[in-house]
Symmetry: C2
Subunit: 372 residues, 2 copies
């Protein structure tokens, strides 16, 4: 039975911990690998392996005796996963899928080759190549690999910005004039079954490219939302995905959809599914990679998700603030229990649920006041 | 912050695992103690302590360095908990509360002394004392200590049954003519705040005293349900409870409420709160013992919970049956991943949620067909 299946997760952060939360519901054993010995997941498994998922040797060692491996971050060693696959370990999403997505330019080319609309962009080797774009500013510059949560992304507005730009292989993208940013979580299993969550609308802080809050269901035209879920399903099929995938999209001023970025794993934009959906994205991932039937992705009620970021403001009377937050009915705190102290990083989130979107927004406003 | 709090749980079964599930949401570390090295919880913590919670020495050893200890079973060594309390470890529920409840006769006397109506009963030392009740049959016989899930309970109908009865300190109870069995989960924190869940109706299999299924909200007269929640609050206050408590009650043919049994911990009759309530009983327990504000216990939608028992029927094509169950929208599987094979024991449960009680009952009927 399920308890005899040995599942491994590459990455031991909050996403991994939320996978373990659902692994408990299926009685599964989960082995976790993270390079930080104090990663959140290290507390919630008897099988924690301290090692870098980017290391060939470390992954080979970790994979011994496991039945299935999945990921909670993309920066993993693909060659090692291919090697383990040859040894009989099932790797979901497939190494090919992860590899395509790991590199933002390869990802874009893949999508284009499958006739999926994307944000136009070109590849450059390093900073020196940027000067040819001087007359095309403003532009968005993204590192091809290893960016996350706004790290590895910057907007170039002036020539001065070029001088301060990343000196690494990057994608240079047009700054699209966007009306909305949405995200669709889609799951697909090895039998080709696909389940799409309702699109969520994401609102980003302008400075840092960090998500400010997200609302589900997205409060935009239903026809666009329907197209977005169809598009997400097409991406999942094109990738022959087994697992779950976040498809972040732009809705342009002309109501066109452009795929911005993919993440082949549980995603921030699916946190709300724990409380607000019939099947959470974490349970859906486990169902997909274990060959179980996919669950109903239906939304039960409106929700809003806000990240909690490390910072001086929160640190003043943190316990008091969290207590006041916990006193709001329908405010679901997820506190990641991270060690250390790096201003700006995500240390928790709150999902607010209620019967109407208006109530959800009103509660979220109270929470924002408490946390700031 | 919360992640620096070291919480210990005595007992490492499925209830403990469901507490860990919620501990993840608060970023807490949880140390678990169980005498079975392969208990479900052993997989979900980096801090598993193999030892018997009934042992004085084992608990003292386990408690070193912990901030708070709570329980997921009553059979724990009270003297050791008192000793740890003197050393500064916070024990919730208090050792006095657990001690009163551990013994079914002491429990009954305590409730009577607080004017809480109970099933009438008397204490006996052992089997020889039973013969004086020969002319009062039928009666219900319950071991004073360590009974659970129908173990330690039997109905005496004939003189022959007396010969086959437990030979241990027991409570002899009248067989009350009951209309319904209900359970109310109530939480109370150290500041005296009380939160009551809606009563659930429990339906037991007649032979084995094992729960067949439970429905929330209970489909009985609203006035009775209101009285039941008031009664549960009174019991929590009388016990000066800090934690959560299941108050199992009988509704007699005359619509009177009688308290049947108490359990000062998460309880089977609160499993449905994971999916169906705003705050689950597991989260509520953590909030109560950590001095956080109690959460909203409100029910979001109707639900029905069924235990899954080990047995020959299930074992025929178990994986196929679970797959068909997972294919029903709103059927939430909790598979405990227990080792071994003892027919009749609980190895999982399913919570069914839907918008109407009729839909919930119809889905439950399909599930029963699948599992049988």
């Amino acid at each position: 039975m399920l308890e005899n299946l040995k599942i491994g997760i590459l990455g031991g952060g909050q996403l991994g911990a939320m996978i373990i939360r659902q692994a408990i519901d299926l009685g599964l054993s989960a082995s976790i690998m993270d390079k930080d010995a104090h990663a959140p997941c290290s507390r919630y498994t008897s099988s924690f392996f301290c090692g870098d998922p980017a290391s060939f040797e470390a992954i080979l060692e970790f994979g011994k005796g496991l039945d299935v491996i999945t990921i909670e971050k993309e920066a993993v060693n693909i060659n090692a996963l291919r090697q383990l696959e040859k040894q009989g370990v099932r790797i979901f999403p497939a190494p090919d899928t992860i590899e395509v997505i790991q590199d933002k330019f390869t990802q874009k080319q893949f999508l284009l080759s499958h006739h999926i609309p994307v944000v136009p962009g070109e590849a450059i080797q390093g900073k020196k190549d940027l000067y040819q774009y001087e007359n095309k500013l403003p532009l968005c510059l993204k590192k091809r690999r290893d960016g996350y949560d706004g790290y590895g992304v910057m907007v170039l507005k002036t020539k001065g910005d070029i001088a301060a730009a990343f000196d690494a292989p990057c994608v240079v993208e047009e700054l699209v004039d966007i009306k909305h940013e949405i995200s669709v979580i889609v799951a697909r299993n090895e039998y080709g079954a696909v389940a799409c969550y309702d699109p969520v609308m994401m609102v980003f802080s302008e400075e840092k490219f960090v998500l400010d809050y997200q609302i589900a269901p997205a409060q935009i035209d239903k026809e666009i939302l329907k197209k977005a879920t169809i598009l997400a399903g097409e991406v999942a099929d094109a990738l022959k995905l087994v697992g779950i995938l976040a498809v972040e999209m732009f809705v342009t001023k002309e109501n066109k959809l452009l795929v911005n970025e993919l993440a082949p794993r549980p995603h921030n934009s699916g946190h709300h599914t724990i409380e607000a959906s019939i099947t959470s994205q974490y349970e859906q991932l486990l169902r997909a990679v274990l060959g179980l039937p996919l669950g109903d992705p239906g939304l039960r009620f409106p929700s809003l998700m806000m990240n909690i970021l490390e910072g001086a403001t929160l640190n003043t009377d943190k316990r008091g603030k969290l207590n006041r937050l916990l006193d709001i009915p329908g405010a679901h705190l997820h506190w990641y229990g991270k060690e250390g102290n790096r201003p700006g990083r995500k240390i928790g989130h709150v999902t607010v649920t209620d019967n109407t979107i208006e109530n959800v927004i009103a509660k979220a406003a109270s929470i924002r006041k408490i946390l700031n």
